[in-house]
């Protein structure tokens, strides 16, 4: 059973490796969105430090949504999604695998870029560390909840914008717990409580999202 999920992940990683353009675009989108904020707000390090965690987090939400709209769409177009749904294996393992693959492909690189952006926003080292940790726990949530939205909006007109509309409100807890963990570090009150709430939310998403995404996928393909 788990082998099926691993096969799905391996498949998506291989496909992403063959099509690096899409992958790079998404990372640059993240960097550019974050870099626009100082230009719009001003270069005062104090202000930047204050908004930095939130800006990075919001940019991560947007970047993940950008790539999520293609999570099932490419496979749907060439018919391989149908073939995967016709596998004897349960669909929930497919959606779990797809979400995890999305996280590995699009979530992990954000963690690697983030320290550089943290320096741009004049964040101290400890805060940058917590920001990365919060994204480490938080980005799988984005992939998991986003997979539900991607399945629901599969093949619809304006699917990308619609996906954003559906999923952004559901991202709110992740955004709040994640960004506030860094704020708490900056304020010197410790980030553990925030991070454990974020982790609890992740566990919940892990338990629920693949099922809902599987149901949504079956409805959308029908």
């Amino acid at each position: 059973m788990l082998r099926f999920t691993l096969t799905v992940i391996r498949r998506d990683l291989l496909l992403a490796a063959r099509r690096r353009g899409d992958w790079i675009t998404s990372q640059f989108f993240f960097v550019m969105v974050v870099s626009m904020f100082p230009l719009g707000i001003g270069a005062d390090p104090n202000i930047l430090r204050m908004i930095g965690p939130g800006v990075v987090w919001v940019a991560a939400l947007l970047a993940s949504l950008l790539s999520l709209s293609r999570l099932f769409a490419d496979d749907h177009r060439d018919g391989s999604l149908e073939q995967m749904l016709l596998s004897p294996e349960p669909t929930v393992l497919l959606t779990l695998g797809k979400a995890l693959a999305h996280w590995l492909i699009y979530g992990i690189p954000l963690l690697i870029i983030t320290p550089v952006l943290g320096i741009q926003f004049a964040l101290p080292g400890e805060a940058i560390l917590i920001l990365v940790v919060s994204l480490l726990i938080g980005t799988p949530i984005l992939s998991l909840l986003g997979s539900v939205g991607a399945a629901l909006t599969l093949g619809l007109r304006g699917g990308g914008v619609l996906l954003t509309l559906l999923i952004l409100p559901l991202y709110v807890p992740a955004l709040i717990f994640g960004a506030s963990a860094v704020d708490a570090t900056l304020a010197g009150t410790g980030a553990e409580a925030h991070l454990s709430l974020l982790a609890a939310f992740l566990v919940m998403c892990l338990l629920i999202s693949p099922w809902v995404a599987a149901a949504a996928l079956r409805v959308s393909v029908e």
Partner: protein
């Protein structure tokens, strides 16, 4: 005397039942609203802290209650629809959503009207206001999803799934917003905790009942339209349309 649920769950019979119920709820709502507003604006005493402006709560509070409550009812119908594949459940969810969104919007709007004299600003990022705003976003998402899906069957189920995952999320969103609020603002702004005058409470409850009746009447009217549209190829609808 067994009340046959399946009999009334059939769209054809429900259509007739709804038609007979709508006038009662519509008139009930109008009468209750008239009484409630009269109490709210003429009978209830002026609040010694907030002056006359507080009177907007007679609309604000019932609207906020309904906005949240209707979402729960939608989630209920969605779950029933997905579990038992009953057509009427999905129609009810669809019929309720616009009313729920409207009440949520009204509660935000009146909240702003109330906030201006009370807090000196139209909008504060208070936990309740913020989570109501996100509730409105959820409503908009569901309505947009329905609007984007042409296939009725797919739309029903997709909307139901989104409603349910939203319903699971709403308490977490509420909690997280509160968490965020205490972190960023402390307990600086909270509606005054003075005990409410009995007549004020009565006015508010009557207004809440009026909102309930209105929501039921509006949902039933909308569900009748949906039933007619969906069943227009069936004999019973053709018979109605010929009359």
């Amino acid at each position: 005397m067994a009340f046959n649920l399946y009999y009334y769950a059939a769209p054809a019979t429900f259509y007739g039942l709804a038609g007979r119920l709508i006038p009662w709820f519509a008139w009930g709502s109008a009468v209750l609203a008239a009484i409630g507003l009269y109490i709210g604006f003429f009978v209830a005493p002026t609040d010694f802290q907030q002056g006359e402006a507080y009177r907007v709560i007679f609309i604000h509070v019932p609207a906020a209650w309904m906005g949240m409550f209707i979402y729960l009812v939608m989630a209920f119908w969605s779950a029933i629809g997905l579990a038992f594949k009953t057509r009427l459940s999905f129609m009810m969810a669809r019929a309720l959503a616009p009313t729920g969104a409207m009440f949520t919007f009204i509660s935000l709007w009146t909240g702003a009207l109330w906030g201006k004299p009370m807090w000196g600003t139209w909008w504060v990022w208070d936990a309740r206001l913020t989570s109501t705003l996100i509730l409105l976003f959820l409503y908009i998402g569901i309505l947009a999803l329905w609007a984007a899906i042409d296939d009725r069957n797919r739309g029903d189920k997709a909307g139901a799934l989104l409603t349910l995952i939203g319903a699971v999320n709403v308490p977490i969103i509420y909690f997280s917003v509160q968490w965020w609020n205490t972190l960023h603002q402390g307990a600086s702004i909270k509606p005054s905790g003075t005990s409410m005058d009995e007549i004020m409470l009565a006015g508010m409850l009557i207004m809440a009942a009026a909102a309930w009746f209105y929501a039921i009447a509006a949902a039933l009217t909308r569900v009748r339209t949906i039933i007619l549209e969906r069943e227009r190829h069936t004999d019973w609808v053709k018979r109605i349309l010929e009359q």
